[in-house]
Amino acid sequence: MSKIKVNEEIQEVTLPLSLTELIRTNSATPEMVSVQLNGDFIPQEKFPSTGLQDGDEVDLLYFMGGGAR
């Protein structure tokens, strides 16, 4: 098992694992998150081809659009 930090919490995962797969196992879809991998933003079209490594730090940032109505 490899360890990846997702939003500051350690998750045990089996490699190889793409960003898209990690997003889905975290109950999200690629359309509803923005992703920082080790501090760098990854464009959405690169989620499927971005493979994760042991020790990676991932931030899943969720769209939040509410405010007025």
Binding site: M32, S34, P43, G66, G67, A68
Partner: protein
Amino acid sequence: MDFTPEQVERYSRHILLQDVGVEGQERIHSGKILVIGAGGLGAPVLLYLAAAGVGTIGVIDGDTVDLSNLQRQVIHFTPDVGKAKVLSAKEKISLINPDVKVITYHDLFTAQNAFDLIEDYDFIVDGTDSFPVKFLINDACVMKGKPFSHGGILRFDGQTMTHLPGTACYRCVFHSPPPPDAVPTCSQAGVLGAIAGMLGTIQAAETLKFLTGAGTLLTNKLLSFNAKNMSFRTVKLHKNQHCPVCGEHPVITELAEGEQAFCEIKNRKSQA
């Protein structure tokens, strides 16, 4: 400027604060703030900026007060149902603090009026509820070098970041609006009323920090919280070199409305 004895008393808790003092209160007094949206987020922002003595507050909102707003939009009262939100907000601001000059715009924030609206203000607060308008506020502010506070809420969650010219912008983090049905809005998925107060007061505090120069702003950071377990998290960000509006090769060079029309039509269809 010289404060009257009444003003010294009214603002005494600011004047006592080492990081604000008379000088900071004078800066608040000469500050001009535009609040976009007089709803869930705009309500606490407007109330606190009015109480703080911000000299000029602009407020833009095209809506009227609805009964379903009163669960969280604390600047509007039961007798205000049916009244323009900007008028209802202006009445409360004037009652809280007659020192404040209020400028109301009963209108939508659009690509056509964006530059004219933000031009006269020092700092802009995003209290809107649609992604297309949030992106429009970002693009207009980045292009004109205006600082602003982004805010978003949903269900039990909130997020906010502050942008100053040269720091990460909203598009650095969120490249473009999500597909219309990928992320629900509050009117579709609901929101705990107090969440609007929690996030709106953070935006008000950032505004007052900006005016007074106190402390460190939420620049190059995204603060998000979940009130179910009361967890707060601050994610460090940096300017994204691929950002479509502030990156090395910007592709957005003028304001566009297209995305909004698409989203609203889709929303109407899904609500029908």
